[in-house]
């Protein structure tokens, strides 16, 4: 991927290359000063519907989450529009030596514009170069979360199957769809 030297983007920033989605996005590390933007999506029950966590209700809890989880995370990025303010986040969490699990969350105001798809595409294009030991990038999606399944399919993840009664979510045991993307797979 070419670095756009005219705007001095740091190596850890990944940017949209193609003309879709309708708005240009880039990925960058999150900081504590992102807390108020974080609250916009983290307090929204539409956003947290398929998350294991409940919507945040206090700024203190959000700051604790940023300190305890986000800042020490091995690979987590804010999804940002041109103004460099986060509208969501995307992360790859190591499961073991060869597997990473991708997860993403986006403010509901920005749904339906291809933004999550572009963020996942950027990550899938770069993550294996940054983590050469990783052989498999996987995602587990609730059977009812059709929007998120479409994101992964559009990027080129392979739908491997449905695992019945696989994940505990807010008092229920859910069927989950497993997707994967390998270094040898092609991005759509």
């Amino acid at each position: 991927m070419e670095i756009d030297s005219s705007s001095m983007i740091k190596p850890e920033t990944l940017s949209t290359r193609s003309s879709s989605p309708s708005e240009k996005i880039h990925l960058r590390p999150m900081t504590l000063s992102d807390v108020d933007d974080f609250m916009v999506w983290a307090t929204d029950s539409n956003v947290t519907r398929f998350c294991t966590w409940e919507p945040y209700t206090s700024r203190e809890a959000a700051i604790a989450y940023l300190n305890d989880v986000v800042l020490p995370h091995p690979w987590l990025r804010a999804i940002c529009l041109d103004n460099d303010r986060p509208i969501g986040s995307i992360s790859v969490t190591p499961v073991d030596k060869i597997r990473g699990e991708i997860g993403y969350v986006l403010g509901s105001k920005y749904w339906g514009k291809g933004i999550a798809t572009e963020a996942v595409r950027l990550v899938a294009a770069e993550i294996f170069k940054e983590n050469p030991e990783m052989e498999r990038l996987e995602a587990l999606v609730d059977v009812d979360n059709v929007g998120s399944q479409k994101v992964l399919e559009k990027v080129g993840f392979v739908r491997e199957g449905v695992m019945r009664k696989f994940m505990y979510l807010k008092g229920n045991v859910r069927d989950m769809v497993m997707f994967s993307f390998l270094p040898s797979d092609s991005l759509h």
Partner: protein, 160 residues
């Protein structure tokens, strides 16, 4: 007491090659393993002929919020392969386990794609093949594709 019989199959790489166990080479290693891993295990049984251990079946539930799902693993002494023994033993184990561990809703088996004999065991018992997971398991220096099979406690309910 089982250490000598245990070693006959647990020391055989044909049996333990697909498992996360090392192949044991001494009775002392075997005894240590039995003491430290098998005895405290939540659900582990020897497959026996004439009360001598010729293999094992092990059910290990996950922890915390995930304790509703459990992995099943099994191994059988090589001289007894090909007689349907594992299928019978696992079939018995499965019905006992849902009784003994009532919080377990899902039994899952992750079987390497080249291990056809093991796939036949779970298929004959009625596990459902759910997925082919590519490059999923890192074991003893190699990376493997696996099939995921599951049997739910609700799969065993009698039809109305």
């Amino acid at each position: 007491m089982d250490a000598h019989d245990f070693l006959r199959w647990a020391g055989d790489d044909r049996v333990t090659g697909n498992l996360r166990w090392p192949a044991f080479t001494s009775e002392e290693e075997a005894l240590t393993f039995i003491r430290d891993v098998c005895l405290p295990h939540p659900w582990r049984r020897s497959i026996c002929i004439d009360d001598r251990s010729i293999g094992f079946i092990s059910i290990f539930p996950e922890t915390g919020d995930n304790r509703f799902k459990a992995h099943i693993g099994y191994g059988l002494s090589h001289e007894y392969w090909g007689k349907g023994i594992t299928t019978r033993a696992v079939s018995v184990a499965v019905s006992q386990v849902f009784n003994d561990l009532p919080h377990v809703l899902r039994l899952q088996a992750f079987v390497q794609t080249q291990n056809k004999a093991s796939q036949r065991v779970v298929e004959k018992i009625g596990f459902q093949k759910e997925c082919l997971l590519r490059k999923y398991t890192y074991l003893k220096g190699q990376i493997y594709d696996v099939f995921v099979y599951s049997l739910l406690s609700s799969d065993l309910l009698p039809l109305p």
